[in-house]
């Protein structure tokens, strides 16, 4: 029974937070709603990052590659066929003539993200630590260069425009909810438990028979699928996209969101994605001047980035496991009960006279 309640909190907490944000967003002006939509789409990508980074403990800078590939594929294949021959004359024939619906493009984004992650993971998942981080960064670099300079698969360095916009408030909230559900279901699989065991102690995990490579590959692929899904939501939110929008800035922003929220839990990823997003939007608005009741707050341009950076450093120093302590929603209370019980009956800890 206790376990069931914990599961309800674990899934219900993030879903409730998303619903709350969507509800508040629905009461805002259209311009402010755009910010809320962007927060929810970014949170979807952060949850994608969590599925791999959080569960494996391996840092990856490459997940935005999957966002990029999915965003461009979804954008191109849903844009009007008639304009492709003029805006992207060198496109491969099947890309120039194929048209799919926005809904299909979301599924395609997830599929492309998963396949791309699987293929790169076959090589990368044998690495650990710094080597893994650098290699995933190399994937991001290669993907960016290919998208930016290969005109047969996209607009190259130019903007892909006229992508139909369909990611509104409800779609972004549902999309983010689907990402939460997928991450939740995955983290209760045997595969994820084995992966988490390798995160806690890789040598012990291998010693009991865990194939770390296989479990990491599963998580990397699912993470690629969610990131790809987020990429498709992203392009249908903006209506246009450039390769620079799915490159280093988004990589570091989403990683910062994950780390600040708490990379070890789904709750941490959701809180980080949404909370950090709200602070980011508020600071960017403050650069243009924002009213707080009777107060008018205005900060110099560029200050938001400095404040966010300082905020991230402060969180990392004061709360190295993120603002949620990398715990699931309401998990804190059960942990406190356990630690109290241990202090009472621990036989091997020397007692004070």
């Amino acid at each position: 029974m206790k376990i069931r309640i914990r599961l309800v909190y674990e899934l219900g907490g993030p879903l409730l937070l998303i619903a709350l944000v969507a509800l508040v967003g629905s009461m805002m002006s259209i311009a402010q709603q755009a910010n809320v939509i962007n927060i929810l789409v970014t949170a979807t990508i952060v949850i994608g990052l969590y599925v791999f980074i959080g569960n494996s403990g391996v840092m990856s800078f490459g997940q935005i590659s999957f966002v990029a590939v999915a965003a461009f594929a979804a954008g191109i294949l849903t844009s009007p066929v008639a304009i492709r021959s003029t805006t992207m004359p060198q496109l491969f024939h099947f890309l120039a003539v194929t048209k799919i619906s926005n809904l299909e493009s979301l599924l395609l984004g997830a599929l492309l993200g998963a396949v791309f992650a699987l293929l790169t993971g076959l090589v990368l998942m044998r690495l650990s630590g710094l080597a893994a981080g650098i290699a995933t960064f190399a994937v991001l670099e290669i993907t960016y260069d290919v998208i930016t300079y290969w005109n047969k698969i996209g607009p190259g360095a130019r903007t892909l425009a006229l992508v139909p916009v369909s990611t509104g408030l409800s779609v972004s909230a549902i999309g983010c909810g689907i990402a939460v559900l997928a991450a939740f279901l995955y983290q209760h699989t045997r595969s994820c438990r084995l992966l988490r065991a390798s995160r806690e102690d890789i040598s012990a995990a291998r010693g009991i028979g865990v194939s770390v490579f296989r479990q990491r590959l599963v998580a990397f692929t699912l993470s690629g699928a969610i990131a790809g899904f987020g990429g498709a939501l992203f392009v249908h939110e903006l209506g246009s996209i450039q390769s620079s929008q799915v490159y280093i800035d988004l990589t570091f922003t989403t990683l910062a969101m994950l780390v600040v929220g708490g990379s070890g839990s789904l709750w941490g990823a959701t809180v980080g994605g949404i909370g950090f997003g709200i602070v980011d939007v508020f600071l960017r608005n403050a650069e243009n001047g924002v009213a707080l009741g009777s107060l008018h707050l205005s900060i110099p341009s560029g200050t938001s980035t400095i404040i966010l950076g300082a905020f991230m450093v402060a969180v990392l120093i004061l709360l190295p496991r993120g603002v949620t302590g990398s715990r699931e929603c309401l998990e804190r209370f059960s942990m406190k009960r356990f630690s109290k019980a241990v202090r009472l009956d621990d036989q091997d800890v020397p007692r004070k006279p």
Binding site: A197, A204, A205, G207, I208, G209, V210, V342
Partner: protein, 238 residues
């Protein structure tokens, strides 16, 4: 007795440092064999080399099959379980989850000697604190969970690295009592210990390792012989 594990000319190096120069040992089916020696003698490196966790040269045969170049997860699935020094539990996972992961390396089709009930009788703490995060247990309790986790794969050979390290005398007794029951079940044990006297009394044979080489094989269990070995190789009465 048929040899379950046979190690010959084992050599382990970490860069230029030689941890194990030459180790030859064998463990028969159901036997308890000790590997004793001072700090830095190469005991833990020998166990890690058997598991495939460190690169090594030489021959390691298990049930007549070479373990050369096998990864630790493959070695575990052949029927060797290790309880590493420092326990290496998964601290944020519950005791129950730790034990569940131990079953991973069970071999399909093999008749099980060890089940959850047997483990709960052997180490009641594993049942009593099953929902508690393993990292919050005391050292002695963690050691019991670590041994239980290894046993749940129902191995033919159990490698134990310093199971009594840092434990209270009561906890050490609990661990050695359990090892007796494990051995009675027919599971072979290769025990690495610094408590040389305790290990030699428990094991049928013990190898004394020093500076990466096996110096002596001890079969006698008389107090005088054990004391003489301990004084000669450890420079004290252990």
């Amino acid at each position: 007795m048929e040899s379950l594990l046979k190690v010959a000319d084992l050599r382990v190096t970490y860069g230029r440092a030689v941890a194990v120069k030459k180790v030859d040992l064998d463990v028969g089916e159901g036997q308890a064999i000790g590997l004793i020696g001072p700090n830095g003698a190469g005991k833990s490196s020998t166990l890690l080399a058997i598991m495939g966790a460190v690169k090594s040269q030489g021959t390691v045969m298990f049930k007549g099959r070479s373990l050369h170049k096998l990864q630790p997860e493959s070695v575990a699935r052949l029927g060797i379980a290790i309880v590493p020094e420092g326990r290496h539990l998964f601290p944020s996972m519950s005791v129950q989850e730790n034990l569940m992961l131990g079953r991973l390396a069970r071999r399909p089709g093999k008749e099980l000697r060890i089940d959850d009930e047997w483990i709960a009788n052997l180490f009641p703490v594993t049942h009593q604190y099953r929902e508690r995060p393993a990292g919050l247990l005391s050292g002695g309790q963690q050691q019991q969970v670590a041994i239980a986790r290894a046993l749940l794969s129902d191995p033919d050979l159990l490698l134990l690295d310093e199971p009594s390290l840092g434990l209270s005398p009561t906890a050490v007794n609990t661990v050695f009592d359990a090892l007796g029951k494990i051995k009675a079940l027919g599971i072979a044990v290769l025990l690495v210990e610094q408590r040389a006297q305790r290990a030699m009394q428990f094991c049928e044979r013990s190898y004394v390792i020093s500076e990466g080489e096996i110096r002596l094989e001890v079969k006698s269990k008389t107090e005088e012989d054990i004391s003489a070995v301990v004084a000669a190789y450890f420079g004290r009465s252990a």
